[in-house]
């Protein structure tokens, strides 16, 4: 397992705002971006989501031909907005972007636009399928949009493992630079709300009719969100040599497969535990050194119970002194983008010495009274090492270990 890699640039667009500064402010203020769903008409058991307004994702006519720009999906635009901010933040000029690798984690891609085109055909508004409206359908489009717009011609890959997709993308980016396959890599997560996922989770009765409340004894499920995050990753030496500012270190990562059920996590969390322990081992960090856990914390009855069980097993008696919070309470569950968004939030937390809250958490399960779940409001804390976990449909688990640059 390679040594630590540096994170030198950040970009994000979420329900809390159009860039990293807006996200950081929203985290500090404990705001909740989960509100009434307006992206498309839907009537079901739930009508809430953490949305990113179309206008927020911006237009990118300066970087792409008009015909291409017109055909970008919302997911493509958000990816490009985040990637552009991250490259600028990392101080990557055109020549240094040329050999950069791109790893994208996503689950729905241009599905919202695809649904619309399909509905128009089925409803008779379009006599034939409009191929031009379906160009954003392939999931790998966002990676291509970012590559072509920013001139990134190193290795390129799109990974799709449900809710752990962009955590896996960040791990892949780290492996690529550590293995010398590219001098710099961009890890991106992007996903947009669409009818298929919204109606699907609603049909599974997995959505909370009120804004999600991870770890709460009354929790009823998740709140869907959308957004994108981008992190620039490079070897520490490479970053220092070009005078880049190190924002954090990615010390290690671990992943596993439950091989149990297509949706439900393994009840005793064996896979999640393997991912967490493997990540800590790869990072050469003992559980005792972890200050903060940015949990998967989706707010479903099953996940949160299993996740707390895993944390108890790994952190033991010390768990009460490890802050644990779920950012899904603020930005919603951004599916394929969640891994990257939450890793980025963890970097902000480390950088600013601030624990983001689990908002909407009023009463944790009685047996979790000893845990520090950072309920309602965040607070200052000098954290140095943190962990971010993502658990996907089908039992695909990924844990990342992040640290302040001075932790090396």
């Amino acid at each position: 397992m390679p040594a630590a890699v540096a994170i030198t640039g950040l970009g994000a667009i979420t329900g809390l705002g159009g860039d990293v500064a807006a996200l950081a402010t929203g985290l500090r203020e404990g705001r909740c971006a989960i509100a009434r769903l307006t992206a498309f008409p839907y009537r079901g058991r739930c009508d809430l989501a953490a949305q990113v307004p179309d206008a927020e994702a911006g237009s990118h006519g300066d970087r792409l031909p008009p015909a291409t720009e017109r055909r970008l999906s919302h997911a493509d635009r958000m990816a490009l907005a985040a990637a552009t901010e991250a490259c600028r933040d990392a101080g990557l000029d055109a020549p240094s972007r040329c050999t950069a690798a791109v790893y994208v984690g996503a689950t729905t891609g241009g599905m919202r636009e695809t649904e619309e085109a399909y509905r128009r055909f089925r409803g008779g508004q379009d006599a034939r399928f409009r191929l031009s409206r379906l160009l954003g359908t392939p999931l790998s489009t966002a990676a291509t949009v970012v590559s072509q717009a920013l001139g990134l011609f190193g290795p390129r890959s799109t990974l799709s493992t449900a809710c752990s997709s962009s955590a896996l993308a960040l791990a892949a980016a780290a492996e690529a630079v550590a293995g010398g396959r590219a001098p710099v890599a961009l890890a991106i997560g992007t996903d947009q709300l669409c009818r298929v996922t919204y109606a699907g989770f609603d049909a599974l009765q997995a959505l909370d009719p009120s804004p999600c409340r991870p770890f709460d004894r009354e929790r009823m499920g998740l709140s869907l969100g959308e957004g994108a995050a981008a992190l620039v990753v490079e070897n520490v030496d490479h970053a220092r040599a070009r005078g880049a500012r190190l924002r954090a270190l990615l010390l290690g990562h671990g992943s596993s497969n439950d091989a149990h059920h297509v949706t439900a996590p393994h009840p005793d969390g064996a896979g999640a535990r393997v991912a967490l322990e493997a990540a800590l081992a790869a990072a050469r960090v003992p559980p005792a050194a972890v200050d903060y856990v940015n949990a998967h914390g989706s707010g479903t009855r099953q996940n949160d119970a299993v996740e707390v069980g895993v944390l108890r097993t790994v952190f033991g008696a010390r768990l009460g002194r490890v802050a644990v919070s779920s950012s899904k309470s603020q930005v919603g569950h951004c599916l394929g983008a969640a891994g990257a968004i939450e890793a980025l939030i963890t970097v902000i937390a480390l950088e600013q010495g601030f624990l983001p809250p689990t908002v909407n958490l009023r009463h944790p399960e009685p047996t979790w009274d000893d845990l520090d779940l950072v309920a309602t409001a965040g607070r200052r804390a000098p954290i140095a090492v943190a962990v971010s976990s993502s658990y996907g449909f089908g039992g695909h688990n990924v844990t990342l270990v992040l640290a302040r640059p001075d932790a090396l």
């Binding site: 049909a203 599974l204 009765q205």
Partner: protein, 85 residues
Amino acid sequence: MNRDALRDQVKDLLVTGLRLDVPAAEIADDSPIFGDGLGLDSIDALELVVLVEEKFHVSIPDEEVGRRAFASVSALVEFILSERG
């Protein structure tokens, strides 16, 4: 519609709608649909509600009604007959 024909229809619906491996004729009339026998889970329960509502034009508005209706194949047959008046 007589009970026997309806019972066959319900069993066929279980097999085709939930993609079961067992032949329809081998599904017991009075065993619990959601017991160990057929190996069904909560996702199957959600789907069965939709399939039964669509095919037999009845309404299963909540979990309580569903629990009674799906107690067994015979229970489901009685439920459909009583709903259709």
